[in-house]
Symmetry: C3
Subunit: 290 residues, 3 copies
């Protein structure tokens, strides 16, 4: 399946796709790249499409550098009431779409980030590249609200509760080299301009040399693990037994033995039939009492 | 609700309260600040009261520095049998009272700590400040017992299983700069005397600038998270929708726009009605068969 | 219970036992210590026996250094199909046997490691010692398969999801000092030859000074924890109440008071009757439809 991104008519996003790597650019410089306008809906939609597009192996989210911020968070001019008046947090919807995307996902944080610009637009990704000068603000407890976008699920998983608590309960602004962020960023770059090219080079190498089904299976095993090694063993055994019979597995072994680059061709239609093994709550909005 | 701490008649604790910050001081220097006497019961009781006291935004636990130890652990003169002869570990009861406290909690570890002085009196806190010279001993496996006070739950969550296992299975004594403790302490201070003032300054800033309902909501989301991003999204969406309509949220947004300090006034009676969303086992002691 | 390891007739393993420390040596230098031949079955079997052997307090896994690799992973000459054609991943069976072993377990990684040589033969251990020059490769996504041996359960628990994702989705080869491995290795040694002696000295000290029941109880509390502090408190209280009445607890307290070395004698027959408190899926292979 291939998607025509132009036909989607996105207003706040630019999409490009080249050799397996899609780049999604937040394009609201006049609004300081705030998480407003149609950005939330477009992000949710595009990550669902990128997940389905067989040409896409890696997705990078970055921002137009005409604004100083990668994402300056919610627009507070109307207060919080206008932002969280519905049952379903829009930051969380974006988080879930990114978290569920079965391709490799990378946040290329080439500017400052505030609130949802740190939570929803960074934590659900597989990798985060960041500018060393970025100010990363998590001011929720200083603004009278609480952390959103599933970050209370994602952040402790990524770096443990000690760091997650320090980051969220201080409501502070952090530099990428803060000890409380240790381990969160895959790479820290000296200039804003270096972030996207570095992420792109990393993405291209992965797009060329990794199997789409291997990636999706590994992501599923990591993100939807069960709570005992025995349970996980039952799952990973079945997924591996399916994968081992795939064309990509045969190609992976052959290329290794012949000491040549791989040429993986399987797409997600070749994914193990044992995926998904999990169920999760239905988060669709219904106009009935919760 | 305001509490009269003097009226509680604590023998092993001193309590002070000033501008939103409560300081609880372990006051058993003649007993080397052992975890004995009435200390366990008093700690459990006072953290339950501090949770309810509307004047309290931050709680610090520290120790009288006339003893060399912050807490020298259990008094072993009667063997272990006298300490764990009942169904419910007293260290665990203290741990739970601290863990459940909905205010920001800080351990100001201004001396050595042994056993429960590390587990029950440090791990359930949101933040830990420590003297660089503190000896931190976890000798359980070298004394014929096992780790207590819920630490087998808390420690892996805080720093991961690799470090938790290293700390507990060696039964070693560690310095705060040990790699096995990396990430556990928010700050490491050069002198015993610097620990409490540093923690106090940190606490005062948080007491002045954070919302009590935001803090309690964030702590609940972090400590009682569910096991899928979808489930967490359903919960954080509801909590945020409630908070966004609160006076503190309105004040937070206004203060931000007006570039002035916040004046939060909400107390826990204004907490989202969707908290608590969890149930947990009843740990009250009953004289019936377990 | 004592085991006669010679009588087991292992072909790919050497077993030695001295003063409470068992050393299991992978002995397939001609096959570059691949995870093949009878090695998987023998590893699974021996860890089940070491668990039961009352003489064994600590187990070390290491490799014959005539091969350059600690374990060079699966033998890919027959492709992946021959390796994962059954319901139950053999790497996962080994992982589970090690993870379930109630003694202290140490991987002494004195050479390079690939695939299952990192996952199954390192992650289920309590401690990992490694040669600084070891190349540690996790190439699953570059070979068309997914991570196995329960590593998708073990690795995020050990070091968090940020590092686990970086290690597994890049499919990279890492040095022990990689930031993505930070915290995973207990010690990093400058030469291959230093790894086993360092691990042995560490093991002997633990074998002499730790209680077998304390170790097994602590491992159970860490590896089979429940998802609330209240639930964990109910469990650790019961385990501690049993342990506190044990001979090892009495000895531990006496030795401490008399300031002399401990002489622990309890074996796993003295373990708390409240262990195990968990149930886990049956992973035995049955010739019925899954």
């Amino acid at each position: 399946m291939s998607i025509d991104y132009k036909a989607q008519g996105y207003r706040d996003l630019l999409i490009s796709l080249d050799r397996g790597v899609a780049v999604v650019t937040i394009n609201r410089p006049k609004q300081r790249n705030t998480f407003g306008g149609t950005l939330p809906q477009e992000l949710e939609a595009v990550f669902e499409l990128l997940d389905l597009d067989d040409r896409v192996r890696v997705v990078i989210l970055t921002a137009d550098t005409k604004a100083p911020a990668f994402c300056s968070g919610a627009d507070l001019s109307g207060g919080w009431g206008g932002l969280f008046h519905v049952h379903r947090d829009s930051g969380g919807k974006v988080s879930m779409a990114i978290f569920r995307c079965r391709k490799i996902t990378i946040a290329a944080v080439n500017g400052h980030a505030v609130g949802v610009g740190v939570t929803g637009l960074q934590l659900p990704f597989d990798f985060r590249f960041v500018w060393a000068g970025a100010k990363l603000a998590l001011p929720f407890v200083r603004r009278g609200i609480a952390v959103e976008a599933g970050a209370s699920f994602l952040l402790p998983r990524l770096v443990g509760h000690a760091k997650a608590t320090a980051l969220l309960l201080t409501g502070g602004t952090f530099s990428p080299d803060s000890p409380y962020l240790q381990g969160l960023y895959h790479d820290i770059l000296p200039t804003r301009e270096a972030v996207l090219p570095t992420a792109l080079a990393f993405a291209r190498e992965l797009a060329e040399n990794t199997s789409m089904t291997s990636v999706a299976s590994t992501k599923a095993l990591l993100s939807r693990g069960v709570d005992s090694i025995e349970g996980q063993h039952l799952i990973d055994s079945r997924v591996l037994a399916d994968l081992a019979r795939s064309d990509d597995a045969a190609e992976g072994a052959r290329a290794f033995i012949e000491r040549r680059p791989v040429q993986f061709k399987d797409t997600l239609k070749n994914l193990s039939e044992h995926i998904p093994w999990w169920t999760s709550p239905d988060t669709s909005f219904r106009r009935t009492k919760l």
